[in-house]
């Protein structure tokens, strides 16, 4: 398995992106932003369609651009209309999927295979460029989160208090959305459009089951995400299945283990 170059690439990308999703996921879940990740991920289908339209072998650049357009539209609508946030997200989510599907249908050729890969991820699709992008993203976003851990935690707790403590709340919210959008858009290649949100939510939720404080939750989320990513890619190889479902199933398995471990740990601690 490790003698094949595409597997090494897939392992590396999983090693970079899964912990990154989990790290952001701790704050995404605490700030009830899971649906935001879902909207951005689904918006990616429009980006993929545009990539194919422009004849790109790797549609990541158009996916990133399209995801940012969706995120910007979301923020603009939230700030300039009185619509509820989930209404805006439902509008953008369905709108971008429909746009993407219409674009794909208008293009020449048979894209059924492509759609399958877009929805569920594909190890074979991971190229050297993807490894480099994932590596750079990992360094940039993880240093952003760790250097701004206190302000990020404060705005999750109370934005007005964060302001009084000297945090530029608006700017930090934008930076967080920027980091999240970029991570989701890049992760689509590995785990697929449908399965990015579970990568944000499940490791954080599993770690929450067995943690006593935020520090433990962050560390355990990272550990669970790394295990899920590596085992999931190996599983996908052995079962010849798409990559996303294999990673997510490993996550779900670990979640169930933490669910069982939770009362046992409580007993042991008391």
């Amino acid at each position: 398995m490790l003698t094949e170059a595409f597997m090494i690439r897939a392992f590396l990308v999983a090693l970079f992106l899964c912990p990154l999703c989990a790290l952001l996921g701790v704050f995404v879940t605490s700030r009830r932003m899971s649906f935001f990740g879902e909207t951005i991920a689904h918006g990616a289908i429009g980006g993929v369609a545009l990539g194919i339209f422009f004849g790109l072998a790797n549609p990541t650049p158009t996916v990133i651009v399209f995801s940012f357009a969706v995120a910007a539209a979301l923020l603009w609508l939230k700030e300039n209309t009185e619509l509820a946030t989930d209404t805006i997200m439902a509008l953008l989510l369905s709108g971008s999927i429909s746009l993407g599907m219409i674009l794909l249908a208008r293009l020449q050729g048979d894209f059924r295979g492509d759609i399958h890969r877009i929805l569920f991820g594909d190890i074979l699709a991971v190229g050297e460029q993807d490894v480099a992008v994932a590596g750079v993203l990992f360094l940039a976003v993880s240093s952003f989160v760790f250097t701004r851990l206190s302000p990020l935690t404060l705005i999750s707790a109370q934005e007005d208090m964060a302001h009084v403590c000297g945090v530029n709340v608006r700017r930090l919210n934008y930076l967080f959305v920027f980091a999240l959008t970029l991570t989701v858009a890049v992760s689509v290649r590995l785990v697929g459009i449908l399965l990015v949100t579970p990568m944000l939510v499940i490791p954080a939720a599993s770690a929450r089951n067995i943690s006593l404080n935020l520090r433990q939750q962050i560390v355990l989320s990272l550990v669970i995400a790394v295990i899920s990513g590596l085992c999931g890619v190996a599983l996908a190889y052995h079962l010849s299945s798409p990559c996303g479902p294999a990673i997510v199933m490993t996550c779900v398995g670990l979640f169930l283990i933490t669910l069982v471990a939770r009362p046992l740990l409580r007993l042991a601690r008391s």
């Binding site: 009830r32 935690t153 707790a157 109370q158 009084v164 403590c165 000297g166 404080n213």
Partner: protein, 257 residues
Amino acid sequence: MADAAPQHEPPCVAETIGLNLAFNGLPILRNVSMKLPAEKVVALIGPNGSGKTTLLRCLLGLQETDSGEIRLFGGLPLKQALPRIGYVPQKLQLDRDFILNVREFLALRLQTTRHWFWMKRKALDDRLMAAMAELGCESLMDRPVARLSGGQLQRVLIAFSLLREPELLLLDEPTAGVDSPGEQTFYELIGEVHRRHKMSVVLVSHDLSMVYKHAHHVYALNGNICCHGTPEEVMNAESLKEAYGIGVSPYHHHHAH
């Protein structure tokens, strides 16, 4: 034969001059001028929707006004004034599942060379315990902030503010989530903190009896400042009727303890 020395006004930590604010054409604050004297407890009373919380938000730079002026600490820019202010909101917006515990929450306010994430529990406790002990909540250190009761949360939030020794502490309806017997103890605690730290305290409250007992100065707000003065001056039926719009009993009962 010198004339009597001119009466100097006590120094004030914050001042608003003619603040006006309207949302969608609906006036919220009308010509609000207020002075917060140094080292005094000022109560801001008024009915629901009278603009009390909005006025606090304006003071903190969270809400822009349509006109008027806010002077903090003699005219400091907001960025320099904020580190001297402590703010205790009514509640946090934490998801009940967020596992941030009290120790970690307080550590967010610490100025340390080493980030709290990498600090040992003992080192953190050494820095935090004094503020927690003062508020009588040392035992809450390991509890998730999202699971605290109303009274416990308010104490933790005050401890959070005290970590930076503020000169002005703003409390937005601090007893909103506190049960009746707890309110009395809570106000006494605020009085204690005020005496010990010699800070100015602004207390947004609807509890007239507590205000009567603990505040040095009262502003009655109902869009505009209806009246202000010592509790004795303000808490009479006429002033309260002006503020609340209906007859309200001054209600300065005396507890027999």
